[in-house]
């Protein structure tokens, strides 16, 4: 009996070993394989992302070079910075003074912040009103907003700048009004989508408790729309901060935004100094990088959400 049991145990043991061993080694090799492929991916991605950063690196490096060291067309932009070619901050100070970079940054900041705040506030109000109060008029307005998203800027470029001139809107406040009007389509469309997802009961309860629409909107609806507000604010900030054509057409030539000032470095005002251009490009990038790194999470979420909706 005991021998039989032993035999059985032995048999069982052996079978366990037999089935375990190949399993073990294949799992180990699979793990090793995935580790190796993980490291290969890591190396490839490191090389790629360094390549991605190279243009930025070259611009920063060349912004510290002397004028003669970055003459056009000599292939010198790739030469590393040396003691002889280093010029300190002079490209920054001289370039900024020449093209009025500081006032350009100020203008861009004012236009972007005010336009985005006004846009988010006004369009969220409009979207809530026309979603909750469906009449023939509000439906037509809604479809006009949606329609405007399809129309490229070139279609209204000439007539819009003409009309703005007629109405004496060739100024920073006028430009902000135009941004609100031209951005309204997408904002109202996105906000309405999210308003529809808010349960109506909450608003009804607020109104029964005696809130008028203003109180209902600001105390009940707007707090619930906060994530959407952030998404839309980020998408609109990226658009308005970087926009070139509209301010170029609307603003008087002495009022510049950052893209217009950069454009001015390249000869349209008789200023052609590559060192200055490089330095101004660095100044233009820095605020964007800070903005990106500080609200990266929202930006990436906003991009994904904006893509699904728009």
């Amino acid at each position: 009996m005991s021998e039989e049991i032993k035999k059985e145990e032995g048999y069982i043991d052996r079978s366990q070993i037999q089935t375990k061993e190949p399993g073990n080694s294949s799992m180990a090799s699979a793990k090793l394989k995935s580790q190796i492929s993980g490291w290969i991916t890591f190396i490839v991605m490191t090389v790629l992302s360094l390549a991605w950063l190279t243009p930025i690196f070259l611009i920063v490096m060349n912004s510290f070079k002397k004028k003669l060291a970055i003459r056009e067309g000599k292939g010198m932009a790739f030469d590393l910075l040396t003691k002889e070619t280093f010029t300190g901050w002079s490209n920054y100070t001289e370039g900024a003074a020449k093209v009025g970079m500081l006032s350009a940054i100020k203008n861009s900041a004012i236009i972007t912040v005010v336009a985005v705040l006004v846009l988010v506030l006004l369009t969220s109000m409009t979207a809530w009103y026309i979603t909750r109060n469906k009449t023939k008029v509000t439906k037509v307005i809604y479809y006009l907003f949606v329609f405007s998203m399809v129309v490229p800027f070139q279609m209204v470029m000439y007539t819009m700048s003409n009309l703005a001139n007629e109405l004496h809107m060739a100024s920073v406040p006028g430009l902000i009004v135009l941004y609100v009007g031209f951005g309204a389509g997408m904002c109202v469309f996105m906000f309405s989508g999210f308003v529809k997802a808010i349960p109506y009961d909450v608003e009804e309860a607020a109104m029964i408790d005696g809130c008028n629409p203003i109180q209902t909107f600001f105390k009940v609806v707007l707090p619930m729309l906060k994530p959407t507000c952030i998404t839309i604010a980020i998408l609109e900030t990226m658009w308005i901060w970087n926009d070139y054509l509209l301010p170029k057409l609307i603003l008087p030539t002495e009022v510049k935004t950052i893209p217009i000032a950069i454009d001015a470095c390249t000869g349209s005002y008789g200023v052609k100094n590559l060192g200055w251009l490089m330095a101004m490009l660095v100044i233009a990038i820095v605020p964007i990088i800070i903005f990106y790194l500080s609200c990266q999470k929202y930006i990436i979420k906003g991009v994904a959400a904006g893509a699904v909706k728009g």
Binding site: S37, G38, T41, F42, V44, S49, W52, P55, I59, G73, A77, F78, L122, T123, W128, Y129, T138, L144, S148, V150, V151, F153, Q154, M155, V156, M157, Y158, T159, M160, N162, L163, V177, L178, V180, G181, F182, A184, G185, V188, N212, P213, I214, M238, N242, D243, Y244, L245, I258, P259, I262, T266, L277, L281, I288, F291, L293, I300, V303, A304, A307
Partner: protein, 286 residues
Amino acid sequence: MNKKTYRKYFPLFVLPTLISFTIAFIIPFIMGIYLSFCQFNTVKDAKWVGFTNYIKIFSSEDATFLTTLLRTTKFTIIGVIIINVGAFLLAYFLTKKVPGTNIFRTIFFMPNLIGGIVLGYIWKEIMDTFCQKYFHHVFGYGGANYGFWGLIIVMSWQLMGYMMIIYIAGIQNIPEDVMEAARIDGATSFQILRKITLPLVMPSITICLFLSISNMFKLYDQNYALNGFSSKTNLVAMDIFDTFYNHQVNPYSEGMGQAKAVIFFILVALITFVQLSVTRKKEVEQ
């Protein structure tokens, strides 16, 4: 709440948006359609000329429109393929267990925050020096090919990161148990990619295709900063601007610019309608 109380609040909630919308969009749009049938130098002395502008932009008298349309189409197709294949590959590998994947995503997405003008000038200087140094015998200096492919490189550098984010969201939406089941059944990673990942991220692919198509087709800033005004490298958006503001010799130029803009609008609208009908169909199937 009844309709009457709502109506009282119309001026506060809707009117400010509606007024700026009217100034920025509704009036310019209607005027734009009307002016495309007129000869004018300023809006006030517009004279009705019927379809003359439309005939002129498609006749041999102004050869730029058809060539730029063709060039833009070629540019869009090539660019969209490169951008989406690249973006999908980036997303595919960055959703695997790779150390530092968040840093890589951050870096690849970064160019999207830099505006088109700044971006264009960054690359212009680099490409000028680079091509002068190494590739001058291939492209020559300032040639049309050089401008075309340069712009494709710039747009890939910019848009790949953007599309990558959307593809990553799509891949992460695939339920883990589906992948697990396929792995247990012994599917190779290539089979999983072809039979599971690709079909399940189809919605993201559609979104990215249309986003990149409309971005490339409507491109202006990068084209302007990198290439400047040139009939050899202009894309449609720039050709329209060029016709409006730079061709002052032809008395019809403003009208022709507006007619080009109307055609451009119709093409963009067509792309959008195709997109809508494709996505609708997909939703029904699901």
